[in-house]
Symmetry: C2
Subunit: 339 residues, 2 copies
C-alpha cells in the first residue's frame, strides 16, 4: 500500500471491529451449504462524506448529495438478485422510500394518517396513499426478511474510508462475484485528525477572516483496485458542473486507477442523462443493448475510452436503465474469467 | 445600517419578495377586528446555515445542528399561546415530531405500519405506536388549522439572513409584543457570492492542498437589535465545546449587541443544562421562579451579568423549563413598557 494511504489510516480516529463482524455475518448469510455465494454481492456507497474542522465537531465541510442515486440503485441491484451492502451517509435517503415525499416525516404523516372511526386502531393511512405506502413498506420488509440488504451508516470521511476498506477486505475472497458501485460523494480534501484543533474555532482569535488549509485525500480508488479487492468489478462516479471537462476527467479515473467504468454526471442533468465511460478495450466486448422502450444508449469514442449515453427514457428513474447496464457488464466480466 | 451589513446584502443572490408576502399574511391572520395582535409573535430560528464554496454548489461548510432545540422550543411557544414563525433549515427537525424515531422515515414506517386484515384500509399504525403518532399528528393538524405556525425553510447563510431581515421588518411595528429566539447555528464565516468560484473546485489544479479564505459574517445581531426591530425581545444562543470561555462569550454578546438574554450551551451537556445569561440590571427586576418539580435555577454574577442555570429536571425535554422562563421574561419586558 502506498505511504500516503497507510499514513491516512494510521491517523484516523475510531475503530472498525464492529463493522468487520457485521459484514462477515452478512456475507455468511449469502452462502449455501457448500460455502459458495448464492448471489453476487455489490457494495453501493451513497450520500456525502463530511470533513470535520474541529475534533469536537461544530463545523464541517459537506458534499452536496441527498443519496437518491445510491438508494434507487440499491433497489435495482436487489431486484436484479444481488445482495447489497449499502454504505450510506446517516439519515440520507434509503432504499424503498422513493415514493415518499422527501424528508419531512410530519408532512407525510399528516397527509396520509387520519384517526380511525373504529376503536380497534387509532390511526390509519388514508386510502389514497395506502397502495404506495403498502408497496414500499412490504418491499422493505421483504428485503429485511431475506437478509439481502445490509445498511451501514457513516458521517465523516474517516468513517467512510475505514468502512470501505473493511468491506473490501471481506469481499476480496469472492473475486469477480463482488462489485463496488461508488455513488457516494467523497471529499477530495480534509484536515488530518492529528492536526485538527480540539475546540470550536473562535472568530475573535482570527482578525478579519478564517484561512483553512486542507490536504488532498489519498486516492483510495487505486488502493481498492490494486490491493484491497483487485478482482472485484469497480464502478466509480464523477460529478461535475462544467460539462466541458466531464469526459476527460472520467477518462483519467480509468487510466490512473483502472476502474471498470465511470458513471459521469452533470449536476443539473443527472436525473435525465448520465454517460457511462469505459476503457475502449473492455467496451468492445459488450455491445450496448438498451431495454425495449426504456433508456437508450449512444456510443462515442474519446481519449481511448468508450462512452455510452444512458437516458431515463420512459422509466420513472434513470437508475433502472443504468443499473441494468451495469449488471450486464458485471455478468460479462464474470464470464470472461471462465473463458 | 453599518457599511459591512449593507455590503453583505447587496452581494446576496436571490429574492425575498415571496417571503415578505407570506410573513405579512401570517401576521394579518393574528390580528383581531380592531387590527391588534391577538397573541404575541415569536420568530424561532432553527438548524444550521450552510456556506457554499462554489456558486454551482457541490461543496459547502455546514454547522452541526439537527434543529431539535428549535423544534421543541417552537412547540413550547405554541403551547404558551404564541404565534410562531419557524425559520428552519430545510429538512431539519420539525415541531410535533419529537416522539418519532430520528430521521429515518422507513424505519419508522416499517416499525409502526402493518397491513390491515380488513379490506377498508390497506395500512394502519401498529397499536403500540398508535397513541404517540395520533398525539403528534393531531397537535400538528391543530396548529395548522389555527394558523399559528408559519414554517419558512432556508439552506444557505444568505437565505437565512435575508429571511431574518424581512421578518424583522414585518415584526418591527409590533414593538415589544414580538420576540426573536435565535436558536439556529449560523456560520461566522463565509465566501461572498461575488468572489466565489462558479464551478466545482478542481483538485488537479491545486497541487498538494486547498486553501480556503473565508470572511467574517457581519454581526447581524447588532443590526437586528438597533435597527431592524429595536423594541423586539431578543434572545440569542451561544454554543461552545469549551466551558471555560462560555459565560464570558455570552456576556460579550450582551455588552456588544444589547440582546436581552443569551442561552449558553456546552455541546455535550446541552440537553441537560443551559445557562441563561442576562444583563445584571434587567435580571434584578425578575426573580427566578422555577416551576414546581421541574427545572431549577441558580443565579450567579459574572462580569456584570446575571446567570440562571436551567436544568431539565423531571421534564422530558429541557425546552419546557427554558421556554417557560423566556416567556416569563418576555411578559415582564412587555409590562415594563406600560409602567
Amino acid at each position: 500500500m502506498s505511504n500516503d494511504v497507510e499514513e491516512f489510516f494510521r491517523d484516523c480516529p475510531g475503530e472498525t471491529t464492529d463493522v468487520e463482524k457485521i459484514v462477515q455475518q452478512f456475507i455468511d448469510r449469502q452462502r449455501d451449504s457448500s460455502g459458495q455465494l448464492t448471489r453476487p454481492i455489490v457494495c453501493v456507497t451513497s450520500g456525502g462524506t463530511i470533513v470535520p474542522l474541529e475534533q469536537h465537531c461544530v463545523r464541517f465541510i459537506d458534499n452536496f448529495s441527498g443519496g437518491t442515486r445510491g438508494a434507487l440503485s440499491a433497489e435495482q441491484f436487489l431486484l436484479a438478485g444481488y445482495a447489497v451492502i449499502f454504505l450510506n451517509r446517516r439519515h440520507s435517503i434509503q432504499p424503498f422510500t422513493k415514493g415518499f415525499p422527501s424528508g419531512q416525516i410530519l408532512d407525510f404523516l399528516t397527509d396520509v394518517l387520519e384517526p380511525d372511526a373504529a376503536p380497534l386502531h387509532g390511526v390509519h393511512v388514508t386510502e389514497s396513499a395506502s397502495e404506495l405506502v403498502s408497496d414500499c413498506v412490504s418491499r422493505a420488509k421483504e428485503a429485511a426478511a431475506q437478509g439481502v440488504l445490509l445498511r451501514i451508516p457513516f458521517e465523516t470521511l474517516f468513517e467512510y474510508l475505514q468502512c470501505l476498506r473493511v468491506i473490501s477486505a471481506e469481499l476480496r475472497p469472492w473475486g469477480r462475484r463482488a462489485a463496488f458501485y461508488l455513488a457516494a460523494a467523497v471529499s477530495d480534501f480534509y484536515i488530518p485528525w492529528s492536526s485538527m484543533v480540539e475546540h470550536k474555532i473562535q472568530s475573535a482569535d482570527l482578525g478579519d477572516g478564517l484561512t483553512l488549509t486542507l490536504q488532498k485525500v489519498p486516492k483510495m480508488l487505486g488502493a481498492l483496485r490494486s490491493e484491497w479487492a483487485p478482482e472485484a468489478f469497480l464502478i466509480s462516479f464523477k460529478l461535475e458542473t462544467d460539462d466541458r471537462i466531464l469526459i476527460s476527467k472520467a477518462s483519467k479515473s480509468i487510466a490512473r486507477y483502472g476502474v471498470h467504468a465511470v458513471v459521469a454526471n452533470i449536476l443539473e442533468k443527472r436525473k435525465e442523462v448520465v454517460q457511462l465511460v469505459r476503457p475502449a478495450a473492455v467496451a468492445s466486448s459488450g455491445s450496448c443493448q438498451p431495454a425495449a422502450n426504456s433508456g437508450a444508449c449512444h456510443e462515442a469514442s474519446s481519449e481511448g475510452v468508450q462512452v455510452d449515453e444512458i437516458l431515463r427514457g420512459k422509466e420513472t428513474f434513470i437508475e433502472a436503465p443504468l443499473v441494468s447496464r451495469i449488471v450486464q457488464l458485471h455478468e460479462q466480466y464474470q464470464q470472461e474469467a471462465n473463458q
